[in-house]
């Protein structure tokens, strides 16, 4: 029996800017079960990070504004929490790691000082036991000689090592949910693999759920249970990872998969890119936001934005067209 850890319904976030209102997240709904790994994929600027940061209320306000929706975490709506209540949840129940490990650590504080902070705040540990725990954590994420490195500053660590430190910090209080915002994007390929492997191993140890934001479908395949594909602030497809790769049913997912470099493809074949650019979120689109770039587009797409249609258990897509046949649904 799987229990739902987090149920997000109709989440909407917008930014009021001098140029107008940017509709970054336009009513997304999804859930995540305990211990499950869900990947959120999509191009840059399609609302992945904003929607996950909305869940932790980390959107700067103003200009940000989470204006609708609920995010029920263990029978409690996160979006109704006060800042004080959120501070107790962040880092303890739900943790987040970020894209760039080079800038995510404070340059003037020692690593030990930064790791022990959350331990002392959330778990009320004494300075000595927090330090002891920090050494264990650094060991767990594979930092050699952790007792000595505790007193080092971030600039004394390499990029991969810093991301390991970030992971140690995020996992210090054994959260139930980890939101990983493109944690491997700024790292080179071998380090990426190490980080993915590390997170996968820690997931087993801590039994935590993971939301893994990425634009790299290759990373997703290895570790996610389910995949959510986002475009222009909408969820356009949601499926188990096998279903998504076997039977992608949104043109955008198809295009993303086609853009993926593969070792088994002939070398003289060029990578396919998606023509055009993501839509300007300043204007609310009429019809399907992907229609201008879609090769399956039909007249209805330009008139009306499709809602998610259930295709089977755990597989839903928001498209008027059946991409296998090219015929309208």
């Amino acid at each position: 029996m799987t229990t739902t850890l987090l149920q997000v319904s109709d989440l909407r976030t917008r930014f009021h800017t001098p140029e107008g209102t940017v509709h970054a997240v336009n009513g997304i709904s999804f859930h995540i079960n305990e211990g499950e790994t869900v990947a959120v994929v999509g191009e840059s600027g399609c609302g992945k990070s904003v929607s996950m940061m909305s869940l932790l209320k980390l959107i700067p306000s103003p200009p940000g504004d989470i204006y609708a929706g609920t995010a029920v975490y263990r029978n409690h709506d996160l979006l109704k929490n006060s800042e004080q209540e959120m501070e107790d949840i962040r880092g303890k129940e739900i943790s987040m790691i970020f894209q760039d490990p080079m800038t995510s650590l404070n340059p003037v504080l020692t690593i030990g000082r930064q790791i022990t902070e959350a331990l002392r705040e959330h778990l009320g540990l004494s300075p000595e036991s927090a330090e002891q725990r920090a050494i264990e954590l650094l060991e767990q994420v594979g930092i050699p000689d952790p007792a000595r490195r505790l007193f080092d500053y971030p600039h004394q660590f390499s990029g991969g090592m810093r991301q390991r430190v970030m992971i140690a910090m995020a996992l210090s209080c054994a959260p139930s949910l980890l939101i990983a915002d493109e944690p491997t994007t700024a790292l080179d390929v071998t380090i990426q693999a190490q980080i993915v492997e590390l997170v996968a191993r820690l997931r087993e140890v801590l039994h935590m759920a993971i939301i893994w934001i990425t634009h790299d479908l290759g990373v997703v395949a290895g570790m996610a249970d389910r995949v959510i594909v986002m475009y222009a602030g909408y969820i356009v497809e949601e499926a188990n990872v096998e279903d998504l790769y076997d039977a992608p049913s949104h043109p955008y997912t198809l295009a993303l998969l086609a853009a993926l470099p593969r070792v088994d493809r002939r070398r003289d074949q060029r990578l396919k890119s998606i023509p055009g650019t993501p839509p300007n979120l300043l204007v609310e689109p009429r019809g399907c936001p992907f229609a201008p770039r879609c090769e399956f587009v039909i007249e209805k797409c330009r008139q009306e934005n499709p809602a998610l249609i259930q295709l089977g258990k755990n597989h839903a897509t928001a498209c008027w067209v059946d991409v296998k046949t090219g015929a309208p649904r």
Partner: protein, 315 residues
């Protein structure tokens, strides 16, 4: 691969395992190379020894003791700096005046720094309406000429505060008034510097990362961002000490500052104005001390500015 290069390998790892320099060590290395700053630092220490150590040679009673038979005597063996218009020993008075002037300089800057950091940090971090209100107040205060503000406040509050005792010394209440007034009228520049620093640092990803681990706003302001802005704050505060000492001199020179018989370098100048040409030793010694102090502090401030600049990586 030669034998010598393979021998150098253990030495190389040894080099790598020595910890890199901290900001403090790096700063000291650079500061040492700044000759004027070193001169300023040494002079400042000598001035402190002069005004604190001198107190062991001359009692405060002696500094305030007037012997009308000894009026306006030029420097001699008995009175190395001469005597003033009512026969007090100028050397003893510059010693005690130095204590007050330096005390005022440092305490006023302490107040200025605390106010400046608070206003700047809160405005810069929270932004929006809080920022707008605090910065309009700051700008409004900046638009009032400081010298008038100082004089009006000195006149208004002067004489309302009783004497206070710190250790063996009794301070005239006017000293406290001057400290508070100078501190309260000079924090605006620092507040703007701190605000600008906060505006840029708060956008860094580590601030978001700190928030994502549940750190409260106050901790982010004071434990995460403030340590990053410490270099410009130190530099600005150091330079402000010189300004505070000068401000005290202005007010005291105009007779609204620290009241007699408590000596300060500023009010000693005031009393010497009538004897500019007839008894130059009256103004020469306190004047030189003010000049030397502010000059040294400015040199030290310049040295610190170069030493603590995070963009300069040269040693």
């Amino acid at each position: 691969m030669t034998a010598s290069s393979s021998l150098s390998v253990p030495q190389l790892t040894d080099d790598l395992s020595t910890p890199p320099l901290t900001l403090g060590q790096l700063g000291w290395l650079r500061f040492r190379r700044h000759k004027m700053a070193l001169f300023g630092g040494v002079t400042l220490i000598l001035l402190l020894i002069f005004s604190i150590g001198g107190a062991f040679k001359y009692a405060e009673k002696y500094a305030n003791f007037n012997d009308t038979a000894q009026r306006l005597k030029p420097p001699s063996v008995e009175h190395p700096f001469g005597t003033d218009s009512i026969g007090r020993d100028i050397l003893a008075r510059t010693i005690y005046g130095g204590q007050i002037s330096l005390f005022i300089g440092f305490m006023a800057v302490l107040i200025e720094t605390i106010l400046g950091i608070l206003v700047g940090a809160v405005a810069g971090y929270y932004g929006g309406a809080v920022d707008a209100i605090l910065m309009r107040i700051t700008e409004a205060l900046l638009n009032i000429p400081t010298i008038f503000l100082l004089l009006v406040m000195a006149k208004f509050f002067g004489g309302k505060i009783p004497e206070i005792h710190i250790g063996a010394r009794a301070f005239s209440g006017s000293v406290v008034v001057i400290v508070v007034i100078i501190g309260a009228t000079s924090w605006m520049y620092l507040a703007r510097i701190v605000r600008a620093e906060f505006l840029s640092w708060k956008e860094r990803e580590f601030v978001l990362a700190a928030r994502a681990t549940g750190t409260s706003n106050l901790e982010i302001i004071f434990l995460h961002i403030l340590p990053n802005t410490i270099a410009p704050i130190i530099v600005s505060s150091t330079l402000s000490v010189a300004n505070a000492i000068l401000a005290e001199s202005y007010i005291s020179f105009l007779g609204m500052g620290v009241q007699e018989p408590t000596a300060t370098w500023g009010n000693m100048l005031d009393k010497s104005a009538k004897y500019l040409d007839t008894a130059p030793w009256l103004w020469f010694f306190p004047g030189m001390l003010i000049l030397l102090t502010t000059l040294s502090i400015n040199f030290v401030g310049d040295g610190l500015r170069d030493a603590l600049d995070p963009r300069s990586r040269a040693i």
